[in-house]
Amino acid sequence: MASTEKYLRKTALPHIWCPGCGNGVVLSAIVRAIDKMGLDQNKTVVVSGIGCSSRASTYLDFNTIHTAHGRALTFATGIKLANPELNVIVITGDGDATAIGGNHFIHAARRNIDLTTVIFNNSIYGMTGGQSSPATPINSLSTTAPYGQFERPFDIPALAIASGATYVARGTAFHTEMLTNLIAKGIENKGFSVIDAITQCPIAYGRRNKLRTASAMLKWQQDNSVRIEDSKKMSPKDLEGKMIIGELYKSEAPEYTALYDDLIKRVQGGSK
């Protein structure tokens, strides 16, 4: 509702994203989740990398930092360690997080540092003209795969779980309210949280893949996603090619900044 307007830098709007781009929908879900969790604007930091998705920090009225390609998580790690009281939200894309910043992604997950990472997963490098990313689905077309992508894509939630993240979810731009709730739960989790937000790129991805309009791409998201509760009742054959959405994983593990504080106390003999 209009209560979320205060989190936007209205003078920076309209944003640079193409007509029908799902990034705006995911951004709006982030803003709603922050509103829902009642985070203090002055104690919230938004860190982003490079790419279409990472432009989002420009439009948000928090302490924001637009960093180097793939390195959003490294800047965010530094910010969180310097002041663990801050709520740090990382905005990144599928290429930024899993290709250029792939190593940072798995190590941030391994450390279980209290960051909320929202991956705007549009299956393509949109800003540079539609090259294949590590999340481009098999058989789809891109400028670097004119005969169809034959490489297997990353399953980003599985990668995050295997690397040690303590909250992993997947949502879509179509299931907007669910996405908002998933991001809110990610903020609530004291540890590394990953939300794989499937979003539409009608210009760089859709036009090459018979999904020419934003509505067609949203319909595709609706038709190809299965809620995790429903997926448990389905056979592996029925689940082939479907995206499972919802809260995929949650666990408890020691958090990095807390461990670091303990270390300081231990080596300084409890003087701090």
Partner: protein, 71 residues
């Protein structure tokens, strides 16, 4: 409740028109959204949450219903 459209932010993707359950919204001759039929509006907010451009806002103030540049 009021339905407020900021025409300067609209890029004419048509998502709101597609997902409005009561056909309140339409695109004009230059492809931007306008309120065709406010009497049918049930203020469900689907247009607002689906708009990628922050161009549609539902507010409590009924006087604000309409379309403008929302300065």
């Amino acid at each position: 409740m009021a339905l407020n459209i900021n025409v300067k932010l609209c890029k004419g993707c048509g998502i709101c028109v597609e997902y409005c359950p009561t056909n309140v919204l339409a695109l004009d001759e230059i492809g931007k959204v306008y309120i065709k039929n406010i009497s049918e509006c049930i203020y469900c907010g689907r247009c607002e949450i689906r708009c990628p451009d922050f161009a549609i806002m539902l507010t409590d103030d009924t006087e604000k219903t309409g379309r403008g540049d929302n300065k």
